[in-house]
Each structure stands twice: as structure tokens, then as C-alpha cells.
């Protein structure tokens, strides 16, 4: 979960530095635009600061002397200054928005490209969900901070410093009011903000708890009702709700202080200017127009200080996001770029002394694994969960590299084959049947975009998916939702198989790909598959005895090592692990 850190955390770590570095390095291409932002905001701020001076002149030279011509001509100047102000302000926003959004775009692209360049291992190290968040929300956070920075963080200090200079120009004698009121406002608002931030974080946690309880209640509705735990759950919810309400009230109570306190400070400053300014005017040390101008400058400065404090509040979250982006950018892909080799002519898959472990793991997932899956044969890999079956399968399309040993296809090391070469060779049906949004056809063409409809139908027929696709009103153009969640698990699995078939690879990898099928369908599928994959190398990871026993060759994995190899009968005879697996699988699974 994403947590807003405290200011202390932020400034003690070098998160802000990272945010700064990330921003600066990505702002380089837009130097000219940023320069434009600064110049335009400078102009608009100076123009805005000039207006009270002009107004002061109207009072001193125009009104006090009764010179209406002067009033009118100064009025025209003011209108011109206004125009300059608005045009440069809008221009500043144009370039500011453009720059911030462009940097956002670049960051998104960089994350996306980087993740695509990373190995599957690096991706699983991060976790898919967090990478998605980093690519979207985290970039968004940084982008919005940049936008605010470009829109306000440039103009705010200009307004502050310019305001002080102008105020001093009007009257130095009153300047002590600036030195008193600005730190006072800064201290009060800063105090409230510092108090509020941890409470905001706590409130967010409480909201998450309340929502988490509700979420559990909805997903576990059957269990709750079955155990008649409605009251218990209501109690759990009430506790969470009370805690949330309590902290929300606390936040609210601090929050409602903010506005009146700021208001009070601004008005105290106004009164002070009038009172002390009045004395100076009376003593002839200051003109009355300067008094009003001074007042306006002071208010402008105070508003700028306030904006500055609020702006600073945005930094912690963006800094955390920048850190998370930086992690992705600095991740080194663990896969070396292939040197390029000729496409192999034979397609047997050979593992020699392959070992593989996830970084940081105590035990390797695969340990010194050697075997050969022959062309034209079906090789089954069996073993309990965690025995390394899927890992083994994923080494073949080089989703990651082994730490030791080699994987070869037709004698060529897989690390020498380019991605497109690999795609031509290997058809993978993953454990989690995943479909992309689009249509049935677009999914089937995933591996071979130029496949014709006939070929797609043939693939569907073999995968036992023809009937249900045929039954849909739009047939091949049936829309598929992201992930394929609008078709059942079994249908999804069959479409994934059809996708692999349509790609017509030389090596088929089925990673527990029949688990969601009922046994009759499974049986038919295996029969048709046997014909369709004739001559190809087929490697199957499976749990069902019925699937395994038909394989030409069975590899038994246990604890990452090959503990047996042979046919069903041989292994049943000689291999204790295999026997144990078969015993536990002796069932009529899929009856339901």
C-alpha cells in the first residue's frame, strides 16, 4: 500500500534529491519551453506587481491633486499592463502544461519500454501490479507536481521577492510588518500542515481498513452467512467505522482552523498597515497612495507564502513516486541480448545440467536438470507444486536464463536466438490462461498476424473451441474482454491452446493447460491435439494422470531435481515419487 511519508522521512532520506534528479534529467529536452515559462511568468508577475504602484499614483497624483486627466491616462496604462499580464500568464500556462505533460509522457514511455526490456524474472521481482501502478499513478504524481511547479513554484518566489522589493520601494519604514507577518503566517500554516499530514495518513489507513472489511464481507458473504457471523462482522465493521470517524473528526477539526487563522492573520496585517501607516503618513514620512500600495503588496506576499506552503505539501507523495520510478529505471535487465544465430533446423529441446534459483531464495528451483524432449514426441513433466515444473518450461522460450547449464533447441543455445526467432519456434500455453482485449480472431492471430480465417477455425476445431465460438453471434469477431474474463475458464484455456496452434510453432509448451476442462473435453482435445502436433516437439506440464500416462516420455521432478524418467508403466514400477503423485491424483477430477 502506498503511504504518505512524513516530512522528516522525506528530508532525512534523499527522496527529494531523487525527485529533483528525475525531473531535471527528463526536463532536458524541454529546456526552451521551460525558459519560456520562466520568462512569461516573470513578465506576468512583474505586470501584476506593477498594478498597485499605478493605483498608488492614481491616488497620490490624481485624486489628491484632483487631476482627472492623469487618472484616465494611468487607467489606460493599467489596462495595457493587464493585457500583458493575462497574455503572458496564459502563455506560461501553455508552456508549463505542455512541458509537464510531455515529461509525463516520456516517463510513461520509459517505464513501459524498460519493463518490456526486463526479463520475466525482473518483472516478477517487482510484481506486475506494482509495475502497472508505477507506469500509471506514480508517473501521474510526478507529472502533477511538475505542472504545479511550473505553474506556481516559479511565479510564487518571484511574487514573494518582487512583492517585498516593491513594498520596500513604497516605504521602508513599514517593512518590519513584512518581516513579522510572513514568518507568522508561515509558522502557523506550516504548523497546521505538519500536524495534518500524519493524520491524513492515518485517515487513509482507516479508510482502507473500512473498505477492506467491506470487501472481505462481500467476497466472503457465503462463509459469513454459513457461520451466521453477521453480527460478528457488523461488530468488526463498527470498530473500523468508529476509528475512521474519530480520525476524520480530528482531521476536520484541524482543517477548519486553517481558514479562520489565515483570515485573521491577513486582517491583522491590514489593520496594522493602516494604523502604523497612518502615523507615518501623518508625520509626512509616507504618501497615502504608498499606503494602499504597501497594503496590496503585503497581501500579495502573504497569499504567495500560503501557496508555497501548500505546494510543499505535494512534494512527499511525488518524491515517493519518483523513488519508485527510479527503481524501475535503474533495474538492469537480467537477460543478455542474443548474439544472433541461424534458425535451428531440428527442434528437440535439450537441457544440460541446468540450475536455476530466484534471487535471494535459499534453495534453487531447478538443480542440475538434464533431459531431452525429442521432436515428434510428447514429453510430460510431473511433480508436486513448487517442484519447478513451470520454471523449467519458461526457460525454453527464454523468459529467463538459467544460472548454470544450457538449454538448446536443435543444438542452438536459446540465448543466441532473437525474440522473433524464438516466437517462430515456440508456442506457449501458460498456466494462467490469459487473453488480450480484442476479438477471438485478434487473439488467435497473436502469434501469427497473417493467419487466415480457415486456419483460425482449424485451430479452434483442434482446441475443441469451434462449437462455442460458432455458437456466438459474432463468431470470430466475438469481443474478448481484457484477460478474457468474459469467457469461462475452460473456454479461455481452449482459446489459449488455439492461439498456440494458430501460430504453428515447432515446439509446443503446455503449462498445466487442461486443468479447467471437463474430462470428456480434455479427452477429445488430447486426441485432436495428437494429430495437429504430429512431428512437433510437445512438452506438457500436467497434473492429471490421464494426461501424463499417454506421454511418450515422463520426467519426474522433485525439489528441483529430476528423480525419474521413463514411461508411465516404467515409472509406476520403479519410482516412489511418481507413484505418490499418481495415488493422490487417482480421482474423477473434473466431474464438476
Amino acid at each position: 500500500m502506498f503511504v504518505t511519508p512524513s516530512f522528516k522521512d522525506i528530508f532525512e532520506s534523499n527522496l527529494v534529491l531523487k525527485l529533483l534528479r528525475l525531473s531535471i534529467s527528463h526536463a532536458k529536452p524541454y529546456k526552451a519551453w521551460i525558459a519560456a515559462v520562466i520568462v512569461l511568468q516573470l513578465i506576468s508577475t512583474v505586470a501584476a506587481l506593477y498594478l498597485p504602484t499605478l493605483n498608488a499614483r492614481i491616488i497620490d497624483e490624481g485624486i489628491a491633486k484632483g487631476d482627472t486627466d492623469f487618472i484616465w491616462s494611468t487607467g489606460v496604462t493599467m489596462v495595457v499592463v493587464c493585457f500583458i499580464q493575462v497574455i503572458s500568464a496564459i502563455g506560461g500556462i501553455y508552456f508549463g502544461a505542455r512541458t509537464a505533460m510531455a515529461i509525463g509522457r516520456d516517463l510513461r514511455r520509459e517505464v513501459y519500454y524498460r519493463v518490456n526490456a526486463l526479463g520475466a524474472l525482473d518483472v516478477s521481482h517487482f510484481g506486475t501490479a506494482t509495475l502497472i501502478t508505477r507506469n500509471t499513478n506514480d508517473v501521474q504524481q510526478v507529472q502533477m507536481l511538475l505542472l504545479m511547479a511550473l505553474n506556481f513554484m516559479v511565479s510564487t518566489p518571484i511574487m514573494c521577492i518582487g512583492g517585498i522589493i516593491m513594498a520596500l520601494r513604497e516605504d521602508v519604514g513599514l517593512s518590519w510588518l513584512v518581516w513579522v507577518s510572513v514568518p507568522l503566517l508561515f509558522a502557523v500554516v506550516g504548523f497546521l500542515v505538519v500536524k495534518l499530514l500524519p493524520l491524513f495518513r492515518e485517515m487513509q489507513d482507516r479508510i482502507d481498513t473500512v473498505n477492506g472489511v467491506l470487501r472481505e464481507q462481500i467476497t466472503g458473504i457465503r462463509v459469513i452467512r454459513a457461520f451466521v457471523r453477521e453480527d460478528y462482522e457488523a461488530g468488526r465493521y463498527r470498530d473500523a467505522n468508529l476509528a475512521l470517524t474519530k480520525v476524520s473528526v480530528k482531521v476536520g477539526n484541524l482543517f477548519v482552523l486553517m481558514f479562520p487563522v489565515i483570515m485573521m492573520i491577513l486582517h491583522l496585517a491590514t489593520a496594522a498597515v493602516l494604523w502604523f501607516g497612518g502615523h507615518r503618513v501623518d508625520a509626512g514620512q509616507m504618501q497615502i497612495g504608498s499606503l494602499t500600495a504597501f497594503l496590496q503588496y503585503l497581501l500579495q506576499i502573504l497569499v504567495a507564502v500560503m501557496m508555497g506552503v501548500f505546494m510543499v505539501m505535494m512534494i512527499p507523495r511525488a518524491a515517493i513516486s519518483a523513488e519508485r520510478l527510479d527503481e524501475v529505471f535503474s533495474a538492469e535487465p537480467s537477460l543478455a541480448v542474443p548474439v544472433g544465430a541461424d534458425q535451428p533446423e531440428r527442434h528437440e529441446v535439450e537441457f544440460s545440467a541446468v540450475s536455476f534459483g530466484y534471487p535471494g531464495a535459499e534453495r534453487p528451483v531447478l538443480n542440475n536438470v538434464s533431459f531431452t524432449a525429442r521432436e515428434g514426441q510428447t514429453t510430460a513433466i510431473v511433480g508436486s507444486t513448487g517442484s519447478g515444473k513451470s520454471t523449467l518450461l519458461n526457460l525454453i522460450p527464454r523468459l529467463f536464463d538459467p544460472q548454470a547449464g544450457t538449454v538448446r533447441i536443435g543444438g542452438v543455445e536459446v540465448s543466441e536466438l532473437s525474440r522473433s526467432q524464438m516466437a517462430e519456434l515456440v508456442g506457449l500455453v501458460p498456466q494462467k490462461p490469459y487473453l488480450f482485449s480484442g476479438t477471438v480472431a485478434s487473439n488467435l492471430k497473436f502469434g501469427r498476424p497473417d493467419a487466415g480465417d480457415d486456419e483460425l477455425w482449424e485451430a479452434l476445431r483442434v482446441a475443441q473451441a469451434k462449437d462455442f465460438v460458432d455458437g456466438k453471434p459474432h463468431r470470430l469477431n466475438t469481443p474478448i474482454a481484457q484477460g478474457g474474463i468474459n469467457v469461462s475458464g475452460g473456454q479461455r484455456q481452449r482459446l489459449c491452446i488455439a492461439r498456440a496452434l494458430a501460430a504453428r510453432p515447432r515446439i509446443y509448451l503446455f503449462d498445466d493447460s487442461f486443468s479447467a476442462l471437463d474430462v470428456a473435453t480434455d479427452q477429445r482435445l488430447r486426441e485432436s491435439l495428437a494429430d495437429a502436433t504430429t512431428g512437433a516437439t510437445v512438452i506438457i506440464v500436467a497434473q492429471r494422470v490421464s494426461t501424463i500416462r499417454e506421454a511418450d516420455h515422463i520426467i519426474v521432478l522433485d525439489g528441483g531435481e529430476v528423480v525419474g524418467a521413463g514411461t508411465h508403466e516404467e515409472l509406476l514400477e520403479s519410482n516412489a515419487t511418481y507413484r505418490e503423485i499418481v495415488e493422490s491424483q487417482l480421482s474423477v477430477e473434473g466431474a464438476g
Binding site: I58, I63, A64, G66, T68, W72, G75, M78, V79, Q85, M101, Y113, N116, A129, I132, Q140, Q143, V210, L214, E216, I218, T219, G220, R222, A226, V228, E233, N241, L242, V249, G252, F259, H267, L274, G278, T292, R317, S384, M422, A423, V426, L428, P430, K432, Y434, S437, F446, I485, A503, V519, A520, Q523, R579, S584, L586, S587, V588, E589, A591, G592
Partner: protein, 687 residues
């Protein structure tokens, strides 16, 4: 400005393909959905005019009425808040006028000090007129000054004290109303949340099964948060802004109606600018959401299916697609940010223009003695404060719109039909024998598509009933009827001879223990999760139940043992171990009736064996309904119910049904095609 951080509550929501098959839903599909968060716009997305894209309410005014109705129990306090706001606004609005008077005191003092002392003002005015300074003479005539005297500091201090008191009281009132309103809104929101919780417990199970889970969750979480924000900020601000606009308008006319008319020119101009830019920027923001969603969808898709993208060599296409969508998003968000960013300077421009106009015309009027300088400065302040609440109101309108839409979605839940009232006319003993009888039971969500047709059978206490049949045959529906998750539409179900409809649901369910495929645990320790089966179970009983159901051993291997926290998504414990925990939970409840749904998904071989043993331990001496997938379970069952299309097509024990050579035989043969050989083989191995 400082809106509460809603951003982080936009946690990933899943969306379920809701259908009548939900009951037989695919656990894997759900695991997948968790990976696919629905994009919820966050504050960080930078719509400064209302945060989330305003979902339109379908019945806006009725929903507004109802939303306001939520405040009714607090109407006394709410009225007080409105009064306080009104008073504070009036005071805030009067103050500039008095400041203007203070300015006059200074100005008059300055002018007066330049004039010779002791000479009557009339003489001086006449002298100026004689000198041809008509305008200055007019001004002098209008001004209230004593020639030769400096600033009247007694008067000045009096005015400044009044202003300070006004502001102090106003600030205190603003704080007080905020304080009251905050507590008030939190009470209302607390109650709303409680109402939703109570409602969720009263909704029939069918409600949950026929709706998208993600949508439901979003309604009870995000939408309620949204209502809270709308109530907390929008309502009070709306009152305050509207009153301020009104008050300032009135004051402007009081000070100078001529200048007020000039300043009012700015009003339609501001409105037009706010309207034109505002609606344009809303459209652009909508486009930005759309493109954000589209890009995020693509990112989710690519990252979730990365191994496939890799294995099928689609990298280039995916990157190209990303670049295209990313560029669209850039253009859309740039447009949205630019146009919405323009509002502030544009409004400021209008306000500057009216400021200049007021300054010039006011200056001329002061110089010609038609108004005092103090009034002019007061007026300038009014005109500057005028445009701010107008701009705020546009943002508030958007927030209210989105809050009302959320309220409407929440009210829909609160209005949903609840489960039928309880009969509760009969009582069962604390522990029944577990005698179950189905008499001509029928059930369907809709009459024309019955899911269960005319089912009758009897189960004796302690017997195990295995329910087999293909997907969609109605196996889960059958056990849902036993649990009274759904009510039969025909016939009746008897528990120890009592029609279950004459019992409270609570009574029925407290007799039944349930272990589902979807091993639901709540976020809490293992101990708490087991105790969920019987809340008064002692720690010793929990350990005993854990031992009986093969849980104890793996729990002891965990660093925190029974205090290990499991979360809703797993992590610390494997799928098989979660299953074991649900068995332990049912075990400790010690029900007389059991419903077991054997997992089809493949878990670790050894854990699988443990699960089977644990389930067997659980079944001992209890009447059990098992949705069975394992041959051993089915073979050992006293009765096998073979279901097809909502009918029980056969029942009997394994041998009888095999001899009958009917549906069961076919099922058995297709699934095992030679399974008998294998069985024999296995039997041989075992000996």
C-alpha cells in the same frame, strides 16, 4: 485546495463477469481479476475543478433531496451552522466598508494638514473655486475634515478596533461552524456506513451473485467516500459562497451604485468565461480520462500477459500501440490542463479589468468629490473579492454533481429488496441429528428456467452424500438450497422433520458447516480465523481442531505460529493450507451437517493428501453433502446423487450405479477410460 486524499483509496477494484454461473465461478478468473484494477481517477490526475469526472446522476433532484434528507436528524445543528455562516459572512462583508472609513480618516488628515489651520472649510472651498480648481473644491466640500488638523487617531483607532473585532468574531464563527459541521457530517456519514453494513447483511445472496462484485465494492467504498467529501466541503462552501456573493453585491450597491453597475459588467463576463472554459475543460478532462483508461488498460494488459508478449514475439506491436495511446493521452491531458489552467488568469484578467475601471472611475469620482477615497478603496476590495466565490461555486457544482451521482448509486443498494422475512415459528434442538429430506424441491431464478426440478431424496444422520455431475448441472445450487442461501420455489426441505422455511435462517445455518472451494479467510491471525467457526472456542480447542485437521503441523512451522496474520489474498499461506484452515474452521464449529466442495484446482500433491485426510476427519459422524471430484470420496459415499441439467438422474451407491450402467457409469468410464484398470493397478501397488 487541501482536499482529503482520496487518491489512495482508489485501490484496485475487480470486476466480475456476473452471471447466473457465478455460483460455480472459477476461482482462477478471480485471481486474474485482482490483477486488473479498474481505473479510478485520483486527485493526482489533476482535475482541479472537482476531482473525479462527474458521473451523471439519473434522477438528480430526487437524489439531492434524499441526500439532504440524510441531514434531517441533524437539522437543528445544521440550522445553527447556516446561521453562523450567515452572521460571519455579513461581518466579513461589512468590514471593508469600515476599513474604507479608516482610509478616509487618514486621507482627510493628510489633505487637512496641508490646509491652513483655523480657516473654516467653506472659505477654503470658496477660495479653490475662485482659483478655478472646481474639482478639488468639490472634493474638499465632500470630505469631512478639519483644515490644519492632522489625522484623527482617536477616530482611526476606533475604526480599526471595530474592524478587528468584526474579523475576530467572524473568524471565530467560521471556525465554530466548521467545527460543528465537521462533527455533524461525520455523524451522518458514520450512520450511512452503518446503514450500508446492515443492509449488506440483509440482502439475499442472489443479490451478490447476480451483480458485478467490483461495482458493488466501488459503491460501498468509493461512492461513500465521495458522498463524505461532497457533504463536508460542498454544502458548507455552497452556502458560504452564495451568501458572500450576495453580501458583496449588496455592499457594492450601498457604497456606490454607479460603480456597482460598472463592476457588474464583470459578472456576466466572468460567468461567460467560467462557462465557456469550464465546459470546454470538462470535455477535455473527459477525453483525458478516456485516454488514461485506454493507456492504463494497455499497460495492464501488456504487463499481465508479458510472458505471452515475449513468447509470441509481439514486443514491437505492443510498443507501437503504447506509443500511439501515450501520444493521445499527452495531447488530451495537455489540452485539459492548458484550458483548465486558463480559467485562473482569465478570471484574474476580468477582475483586473474591473479593478482598473473601478479605480479610474472611482478616482475621478473621488477627485470630483462625488465619493470618498475610503469608499473607493473599499469598493476596489469588494470587486476583487466578488469573482472568487463565483469561481469557487463552479467547482462546488461539479463536486455536488459527482456526490449526488455517488449518493444515487449508494441509495440503489439501500433500496434493494431484502431477504424474505423470517418465519421462525419452529425451534430446533441445539444440535440436530442431521436427518435431511428433500421433497419435490424445485428452484430457479426465473420460473421459465428452472435450475432444480422436482428433486426428492432422504439422507440419514451420519451419511455421506456425494453429488456428481457436469458443470452447470445444479450441484452448487442444491447445497445453496440446504443452506437457505436461496429459497426453494417449490417443494420443501426438511431438517430433522422440520420444514427449513419455518426456521430462522440462523437456526438452519448454525447446524451446518461449510467448506468451499474458494478458501475465504479474513485478514487476521490464524487463531482468529479458526475461531471464526465458534467464537467462544478456547485456545486449547483451537489447537485440538487444528491437530485433527492437519493444520497444526504447518502452523507450527510459521514464525509466528497461530498468531501469523493471513490476508485476504494469501501470501503467507499456500492455497492448500488455506483450504486446510477452512476445514479447521468448520471442524471447530462442530455442526451436525456438513457441506463440502472438493477443490478441482490442483494444489500441491502432499497438501492435497492432507486436505483429503482433514476432510475425512471432518466428515466422521456427520451428515455430509460433498460436491465430489475424487473417486475415493465418491466410492465411499453412502449415496451418490448424479445430477444433469437440474435433475437428479440417478442415485444409489457406487456399486449399484455401476451395475445400473446409466449416467454414472458413463461419467465414470469417460473420466477414467480404463480407470478401473488403473484402480486395480493401484490396489495391487498398495498391497
Amino acid at each position: 485546495m487541501m482536499r482529503k486524499n482520496k487518491a489512495e483509496s482508489s485501490t484496485a477494484e475487480s470486476s466480475t463477469a456476473g452471471s447466473k454461473e457465478t455460483a460455480e465461478r472459477d476461482a482462477e478468473a478471480q485471481a486474474l481479476e485482482e490483477l486488473v484494477p479498474e481505473y479510478t481517477p485520483t486527485e493526482a490526475d489533476g482535475d482541479m475543478f472537482g476531482g473525479t469526472p462527474a458521473k451523471k446522476a439519473e434522477h438528480f433532484w430526487p437524489s439531492v433531496k434524499r441526500l439532504v434528507g440524510l441531514l434531517r436528524p441533524e437539522s437543528a445543528q445544521f440550522s445553527l451552522v447556516v446561521v453562523l455562516v450567515t452572521v460571519s459572512v455579513v461581518m466579513t462583508v461589512i468590514a471593508p466598508k469600515i476599513l474604507g472609513a479608516a482610509m478616509d480618516v487618514i486621507f482627510n488628515g493628510v489633505i487637512g494638514s496641508r490646509l491652513p489651520q483655523g480657516v473654516p472649510l467653506e472659505t477654503l472651498v470658496a477660495a479653490q473655486r475662485a482659483a478655478g480648481n472646481e474639482q478639488f473644491a468639490d472634493m474638499l466640500a465632500k470630505a469631512n475634515m478639519v483644515p490644519g488638523a492632522g489625522i484623527d487617531f482617536v477616530e482611526l483607532s476606533r475604526l480599526i478596533v471595530i474592524v478587528l473585532v468584526l474579523y475576530m468574531v467572524a473568524s471565530t464563527l467560521v471556525w465554530l461552524q466548521g467545527y460543528l459541521l465537521n462533527a455533524l457530517v461525520m455523524r451522518v456519514v458514520y450512520k450511512l456506513r452503518e446503514d450500508i453494513e446492515r443492509k449488506l447483511n440483509r440482502l439475499p445472496l442472489g443479490y451478490f451473485d447476480t451483480r458485478q462484485r467490483g461495482d458493488l465494492m466501488s459503491r460501498v467504498t468509493n461512492d461513500v467516500d465521495n458522498i463524505q467529501a461532497a457533504l463536508q466541503q460542498a454544502f458548507s462552501q455552497l452556502v458560504q459562497s452564495a451568501l458572500t456573493v450576495l453580501g458583496i453585491g449588496v455592499m457594492m450597491f450601498i457604497v456606490s451604485w454607479q460603480l456597482a453597475l460598472i463592476a457588474l459588467i464583470a459578472l456576466p463576463l466572468s460567468a461567460v468565461i467560467a462557462g465557456v472554459i469550464g465546459s470546454r475543460s470538462q470535455k477535455l478532462f473527459a477525453a483525458q480520462w478516456k485516454h488514461t483508461g485506454s493507456l492504463n488498460g494497455h499497460v495492464e494488459e501488456t504487463f499481465s500477459g508479458l510472458e505471452l508478449v515475449r513468447a509470441y514475439g509481439r514486443d514491437t506491436e505492443m510498443l507501437a500501440e503504447f506509443d500511439e495511446r501515450n501520444e493521445h493521452l499527452f495531447k488530451a491531458s495537455f489540452g485539459a490542463q492548458f484550458v483548465s489552467g486558463m480559467i485562473m488568469p482569465a478570471m484574474a484578467f476580468v477582475s483586473y479589468l474591473s479593478y482598473v475601471l473601478v479605480a479610474v472611475v472611482g478616482g475621478v469620482r473621488v477627485a470630483t468629490g462625488q465619493m470618498t477615497l475610503g469608499d473607493a478603496t473599499a469598493f476596489i476590495q469588494y470587486s476583487r473579492e466578488f469573482s472568487q466565490p463565483i469561481g469557487e461555486m463552479a467547482g462546488i457544482a461539479n463536486m455536488i454533481q459527482s456526490g449526488v451521482a455517488s449518493a444515487e448509486r449508494t441509495f440503489e443498494i439501500l433500496d434493494a429488496d431484502e431477504q424474505d422475512a423470517e418465519e421462525d415459528s419452529e425451534l430446533l434442538p441445539a444440535r440436530t441429528d442431521g436427518h435431511v429430506r428433500f421433497e419435490n424441491v424445485s428452484f430457479g431464478y426465473a420460473p421459465e428456467t428452472p435450475l432444480i426440478r422436482d428433486v426428492s431424496f432422504t439422507v440419514e444422520p451420519g451419511q455421506t452424500v456425494a453429488i456428481v455431475g457436469p458443470t452447470g448441472a445444479g450441484k452448487t445450487t442444491l447445497v445453496n438450497l440446504v443452506m437457505r442461501f436461496y429459497e426453494v420455489t417449490g417443494g420443501r426441505i426438511l431438517l430433522d422433520g422440520v420444514d427449513t422455511r419455518e426456521l430462522s435462517r440462523e437456526q438452519v445455518r448454525s447446524q451446518v458447516g461449510m467448506v468451499l472451494q474458494d478458501a475465504w479467510l479474513f485478514e487476521g491471525t490464524i487463531r482468529e480465523n479458526i475461531r471464526y467457526g465458534r467464537l467462544d472456542a478456547t485456545d486449547e480447542e483451537i489447537v485440538a481442531a487444528a491437530k485433527a485437521t492437519m493444520v497444526d503441523k504447518f502452523v507450527r512451522q510459521l514464525p509466528d505460529g497461530y498468531d501469523t496474520v493471513v490476508d485476504a489474498d494469501g501470501g503467507t499461506v499456500s492455497a492448500g493450507e488455506r483450504q486446510l484452515l477452512t476445514i479447521a474452521r468448520a471442524f471447530i464449529a462442530s455442526p451436525s451437517l456438513l457441506i463440502l466442495d472438493e477443490a478441482t484446482s490442483s494444489v500441491d500433491t502432499r497438501t492435497e493428501l492432507l486436505v483429503q485426510h482433514a476432510m475425512a476427519a471432518l466428515r466422521t459422524d456427520r451428515t455430509s453433502f460433498v460436491i465430489a471430484h475424487r473417486l475415493s470420496t465418491i466410492r465411499d459415499a453412502h449415496t451418490i446423487l448424479v445430477m444433469e441439467d437440474g435433475d437428479i438422474v440417478e442415485h444409489g451407491n457406487h456399486e449399484q450405479l455401476l451395475a445400473h450402467r446409466g449416467a454414472y457409469y458413463k461419467l465414470y468410464m469417460t473420466q477414467f477410460q480404463g480407470g478401473r484398470d488403473l484402480d486395480e493397478e493401484m490396489a495391487a501397488e498398495a498391497h
